[in-house]
């Protein structure tokens, strides 16, 4: 079986898994509660993937992705409610607005080496939240923004459509990010994490690639938020606090910095864990840090570190099943995509 065949088979597998899951949601085999949790997990994964791009692959710690999520969510809501744009256009608009903010923040801070980005993004996340509280005509203020048009009002189709859109977006983000990171431009981004001075000496415009990665990261973060608005139909500034930003960071660290598969697995796993632990009430917030501490002590490279930090590659997997070793073939698909 040729490489091309492997890719085709992989695409078919991913597509069929997506369709099967959707049918399961449709038939309510996955009940409404579970599908809602899974959808939130998907959104968390999307945002964490964005964060992983800048923190895991580019090596620039960012602590304000809840802020980008908020910008994406509120912009989408505003575009839908005030300008009555179609949902998908509004979602794209929200992500673009978030990317714009990312670009603005990156412009002064990414010139510097070190942890300045972490400090500035930390501030940014808080500023956005406070802005959202104090701009009631646009955001509903502290009480929150109600009545955002959802993907569909049809009671039966709503969970199905939300689930499908979120997971389709997530799959696209994973595949396209993986494509980018395996290209020479992606190698340039990763080289900045490895050694900024050497990257510069190799002719890489470090500042350009940092801005590029950060803007894209903000775009993806905004995209997650943008999907959140019409999925949930309600937004409140306190959903986007610092704790939320840390949650994304924990997903990235637990999955493994610089590993897409890990982010997908950890994102879905941790979101689910949070639901399972609901009976613990407030104590469940203790579980998160404990997990993080244990990971930091025993497995600092994250869960994917157990597998040599390699990405799971569906095409390679298919190739192996077909009995043909593809030496070093990088795949375009990850099966982590759909749990």
């Amino acid at each position: 079986m040729s490489k091309k065949m492997n890719t085709v088979v992989s695409v078919l597998i991913v597509a069929s898994i997506l369709i099967i899951l959707n049918v399961l949601v449709m038939l309510r085999v996955i009940d409404e509660y579970a599908s809602q949790v899974l959808t939130i997990a998907g959104i968390n994964v999307i945002i964490a993937l964005g964060l992983n791009l800048i923190s895991g692959f580019t090596g620039q710690l960012a602590l304000g992705h809840a802020g980008f999520m908020a910008v994406g969510a509120y912009t989408t809501a505003a575009l839908m409610m005030k300008l009555h744009l179609p949902t998908l256009v509004a979602v794209f608009g929200g992500a673009l607005m978030s990317a714009f903010f990312g670009f603005l923040i990156g412009l002064p801070t990414l010139r510097l080496r070190g942890d300045y980005l972490a400090i500035v993004t930390l501030g940014f996340g808080e500023i956005i939240r406070v802005l959202m509280i104090n701009l009631p005509e646009l955001t509903g203020g502290p009480a929150g923004l109600k009545g955002i048009p959802t993907f569909t009002t049809n009671f039966f189709w709503r969970p199905v459509l939300s689930f499908a859109l979120v997971y389709l977006t997530m799959t696209l983000v994973v595949v396209l990010l993986n494509n980018l990171l395996n290209s020479s431009h992606g190698a340039a981004i990763i080289s900045i994490r490895e050694d900024e001075i050497a990257a510069n000496a190799m002719g890489i415009n470090v500042f350009y690639y940092k801005i590029f990665a950060f803007t894209l990261s903000a775009f993806i973060g905004g995209l997650g938020g943008a999907l959140y608005a019409p999925f949930f139909g309600y937004l409140s500034p306190n959903m986007f606090n610092f704790q939320k930003s840390v949650e994304f960071l924990i997903i990235v660290v637990l999955g493994g910095m610089g590993n897409l598969t890990g982010t997908v697995v950890a994102g879905i796993g941790l979101t689910y864990l949070q639901e399972i632990l609901r009976f613990l009430k407030d104590y469940r917030l203790v579980i998160y840090p404990i997990i993080l501490i244990i990971v930091m002590i025993f497995q600092p490279s994250g869960i994917m570190g157990l597998f040599g930090n390699k990405e799971f590659s569906l095409t390679r997997f298919v190739g192996k099943l077909a009995g043909k070793q593809l030496s070093g073939e990088q795949s375009s698909d990850k099966a982590g995509e759909v749990q």
Binding site: N179, S184, A187, S191, E194, I197, N200, A201, F212
Partner: protein, 263 residues
């Protein structure tokens, strides 16, 4: 033809004059050695030439790929590399967690002719270019006889091969001036001999002008056509290896003051 020229190049760190009034002129195709005792300012000179440090005074003129002289005083390191001057580092700065091939591929960055969008969507340009890049990189690795280690992580290479990989990576930027900072450090005598041959070979093959910092005198005396000696940031001698070996100032710098009228 002069490819690299410094005029009164000086740099000050606080009160310390690390390099003072350095006037260098390097001709096309020359192989020049830069030597001096520890702390003489050799690496500082390299750092100024490659834009890591900005000189406090003086000018650096470098011939670009179109044989035009450029003042590189205000350029960033990546822009200087783009002009055609590449370097290696004294304390190896490989991308340790990436494969050997990826290290070279990153060196090839300036010759990537497709846009990131083409990479994200894997358009035909991506496949064509990536194939060409990989072939070129493997070709370079072959010269240094580490092609079979292309898929290993850079950090897992033995020390000598890491030094070689640094040179390969610098060559991948397609320079016409190559700055080597202690290429033989940590190598055994046998490896050093091989390295000397390699340096001669790549100089011919890629028509390079090479400046190298080295403490291994056998290597320096063996391959350099001209040697520049620094001491306390000043050039104290410049000449052929034979002249340098017998220059009293150089001997004094290395061995301390000669005993007068040896009694």
């Amino acid at each position: 033809m002069t490819v690299l020229k410094t005029e009164n190049l000086s740099i000050q760190f606080g009160g310390l004059m690390a390099v003072a009034n350095l006037n260098l002129e390097i001709k096309k195709g020359e192989l020049v050695g830069l030597i001096g005792p520890n702390g003489a300012g050799k690496t500082t000179v390299f750092n100024m030439l490659t834009g890591v440090y900005k000189p406090s005074e003086g000018r650096i003129l470098v011939q670009d790929r179109n044989e035009q002289n450029q003042d590189i005083g205000q350029l960033h390191p990546y822009q200087i590399t783009a002009l055609g001057m590449a370097r290696t580092f004294q304390n190896i700065r490989l991308f340790k967690n990436l494969t050997v091939l990826d290290n070279v591929r990153i060196g090839n960055h300036l010759n990537v002719k497709y846009k990131s969008v083409e990479g994200i969507f894997r358009l035909p340009g991506y496949y064509r270019e990536e194939k060409r890049i990989e072939e070129e990189c493997r070709e370079l690795l072959k010269i240094f006889d580490i092609e079979h280690k292309g898929d290993e992580l850079a950090k897992n290479l033995p020390y000598g091969e890491q030094r070689k990989l640094e040179i390969v990576r610098a060559l991948a930027t397609k320079p016409h001036i190559l700055l080597l900072d202690e290429p033989a450090a940590g190598m055994n005598p046998q490896e050093t001999l091989e390295l000397m041959d390699l340096i001669k070979y790549i100089r011919e093959r890629f028509a390079l002008t090479i400046i190298l910092i080295e403490h291994d005198m056998k290597l320096v005396m063996g391959i350099c056509q001209r040697i520049v000696v620094l001491d306390y940031g000043r050039m104290i001698a410049c000449g052929t290896p034979a002249e340098i070996a017998h220059n009293p100032l150089v001997v004094k710098a290395y061995l301390g003051k000669e005993l007068e009228n040896d009694a």
